[in-house]
């Protein structure tokens, strides 16, 4: 049987991610473009990943789209699935002992319960940006730092500052007040991380938190959030260097399952 190449595309609200998998086990190429649904990001991410793998579109056996903008790729993708299923699948591939997945994306927070690799329950945030990547974007802007600097800066905090509001708009006002009162921005950042962790923990407890806990999505790159979550949940949180690609990885894995079945039928 020939090698099976599958493409997983995760069109998020703030970034587009692609992974090409060889035979459902080996990552042949990956790409990330920093804009998501409704932009040129998804198509650019696909072009990049194909170029990196030295492949053409027709070399791909099956393409599966996920993420907020998954429905916008109808012509390109063979199928689309919810990002919850794909994140659960990706996390199980990276951490076979996983039982809880926390995914903080650009505009959603999701917590998934996994049993034997399958998602059995989940919770999503309400229609509110609190605790999401967007919340961190807004705070970074007010503090005049880049969002990917937040983790490092928060680690330098020496004094506890509380950001009590869970509403993005009011939290922004609170941060401005703290700055006006002379609080150190690094302390404020650590407070913001705890605020996000607090919000996400509440959601996670609705379905129960069970070891191993894996955090996925772009925000998992922020060690300040991961640390604050570990403190709040009282357990270790596992992350992977592929965290931002986790949804695309899950999509490529599902694509492989389907492509394998199709190949078996044909042979």
């Amino acid at each position: 049987m020939h090698d099976i190449y599958t493409l997983g595309i995760d069109v998020g609200s703030t970034a587009s991610k692609c992974i090409i998998l060889k035979n459902g086990t080996e990552i042949a190429a990956k790409s990330l473009v920093d804009v998501g649904a409704g932009t040129s990001g998804p198509h650019r991410a696909i072009e990049n990943v194909l170029a990196r793998a030295g492949m053409e579109e027709h070399d791909i056996d099956y393409t599966l789209a996920t993420g907020y903008g998954r429905n916008s790729l109808m012509g390109l993708a063979d199928k689309q699935m919810s990002e919850l299923s794909c994140h659960a699948r990706g996390a199980y591939f990276l951490f076979p002992q996983v039982h809880t997945v926390i995914d903080i994306g650009g505009q959603d927070v999701k917590v998934m319960r996994i049993e034997n690799g399958a998602m059995t329950n989940f919770q999503m945030n309400d229609k509110c940006a609190a605790g999401t990547g967007r919340f961190l974007d807004v705070m970074a802007r007010v503090l005049e730092v880049k969002v990917d600097e937040l983790g490092e800066l928060g680690a330098q905090s020496t004094k506890r500052v509380e950001i009590s509001s869970t509403c993005t708009v009011f939290a922004e006002s609170e941060v401005i007040s703290q700055l006006a009162n002379g609080s150190d921005s690094r302390d404020i950042i650590a407070g913001i991380h705890r605020s996000v962790a607090h919000r996400v923990t509440g959601l996670a407890r609705r379905i129960g938190v069970q070891d191993q806990v894996v955090m996925t999505g772009g925000v998992a790159q922020n060690q300040g959030i991961v640390g604050a979550l570990q403190e709040e949940l009282g357990c270790e949180i596992h992350t992977s260097p592929l965290t931002q690609y986790n949804g695309a990885l899950g999509a490529a894995l599902f694509a492989y399952q389907i492509a394998k079945k199709k190949a078996a039928k044909q042979s």
């Binding site: 919810s82 059995t120 999503m124 309400d126």
Partner: protein, 382 residues
């Protein structure tokens, strides 16, 4: 076009154009009375020879003028009802009945009285909490008698007991067909999409019940004759106050999530309880209200036993559903207060469920789409 499609089109037309329905009745010389949620005795409106016209908000309007009267924590159903009264959409009405079962409807009834009473009669209705014993029944009858008098004034003629008896017959016959339709829609999701199911049920709020029952019976007979088809998707029960936005319902159809039963105020909660036999037709209506049960909006002396949650869980099991989708109407205190008990029972019985927050100002359902698709995945595995 098949007769089935033809019938669906008629229901969809009525459901999507309440203004058209109202204008058509007015053109026939009929008067129409707005009926706000919940449990107004619209049989009395019918008995008066007028058209009861349901007012459950709108999926097309934006709240603007209602802000002058409504607190921000009113649900959008209430705010949009006020909006439609203020902006002239409901000018064709000859009166409006304002029940006061929840904490929003009570002040809203006064907002409507203040803002609208120069334009049309506003008929207040306070249902009793203790509705079962003799005093409760007498209280309900006194409230309904007041409504009867006000309706007689609007109609310009008396409503006789025989008129009410006839209306009761018409409404009970309609309940039978409505329940039959819900069952048949669950058995034939390949023919009755979630969008169509909603349109059929919604049309009942804007159509005279005798006409509606006739159309519904014809539809039910067609559905009953369909061959049994194996459903490849999942099956759910839906719970909540109202979920009638076609864009939201389309998601159910896109992911092959069939609605096999409902515990929705706008749908089955309204027609699951028939009007019992009684020599006194006013007592019959009062007893129907007393007999309403397993309802978040109504007092349950045995609420500590969590009977309602058990009822909903049993509904999921009896209907053969794989899980439950709860649409939580924003700012709906009764539903929010009840949810922890419902969740506890569903979890205890291992019934998967999701809770999705909605309101009638929502135009984008991206998050609901993701959640429903993921829920369908979970159910397919289960």
């Amino acid at each position: 076009m098949s007769n089935l499609e033809n019938l669906f089109n008629k229901f969809e037309q009525a459901a999507s154009s309440p203004a058209g329905q109202l204008a058509a009745y007015k053109a026939q010389g009929k008067k129409a009375i707005g009926v706000l949620p919940y449990y107004a005795p619209e049989e009395l409106v019918y008995a008066a020879g007028m058209v009861p016209f349901g007012m459950w908000g709108s999926n097309k309007k934006t709240i603007s003028r209602a802000k002058e009267y409504c607190a921000t924590f009113y649900c959008t159903i209430a705010q949009l009802a006020v909006e439609m009264l203020l902006d002239g959409t409901m000018d064709g009405l000859s009166g409006v009945i304002t029940p006061t079962i929840c904490d929003t409807l009570r002040p809203m009834s006064q907002n409507i009285r203040v803002s609208m009473s120069d334009k049309m009669p506003v008929i207040f209705l306070a249902h009793p909490q203790n509705r079962f014993d003799e005093n409760g029944l007498r209280f309900t009858i006194s409230q309904y008698t007041n409504i009867r008098k006000k309706l007689e004034e609007i109609a310009g003629h008396p409503i006789t007991d025989d008129d009410i008896r006839e209306a009761i017959k018409v409404y009970n016959a309609c309940h039978v067909e409505q329940r039959r339709f819900v069952k048949l829609a669950g058995e034939h999701p390949e023919a009755v999409s979630a969008v169509k199911r909603s349109a059929v049920l919604k049309a009942g709020w804007f159509t005279l019940k005798d006409e509606y029952t006739k159309m519904l019976k014809e539809l039910n007979d067609e559905l009953e004759a369909l061959p049994k088809v194996e459903w490849p998707g999942t099956k759910v029960v839906v719970s909540g106050i109202i979920f009638d936005n076609p864009a939201l319902l389309q998601i159910f159809d896109d992911y092959q999530i069939a609605i096999v039963a409902d515990d929705v105020a706008h749908e089955s909660r309204t027609f699951k309880t028939d009007i019992p036999d009684d020599a006194d037709p006013m007592m019959a209506l009062a007893r129907q209200f007393a007999n309403r049960d397993h309802d978040v909006l109504l007092y349950d002396p045995a609420s500590a036993k969590n009977r309602r949650a058990e009822y909903v869980a049993q509904l999921v099991k009896d209907s053969g559903a794989d899980g439950l989708v709860l649409f939580m109407q924003q700012f709906c205190d009764p539903e929010e207060m009840e949810y922890p008990y419902l969740k506890k029972e569903l979890d205890a019985q291992n019934i998967p469920h999701i809770k999705l927050g909605i309101d009638q100002q929502m135009r984008d359902f991206g998050q609901a789409r993701t959640a429903l698709q993921a829920f369908a995945d979970v159910l397919a595995i289960g």
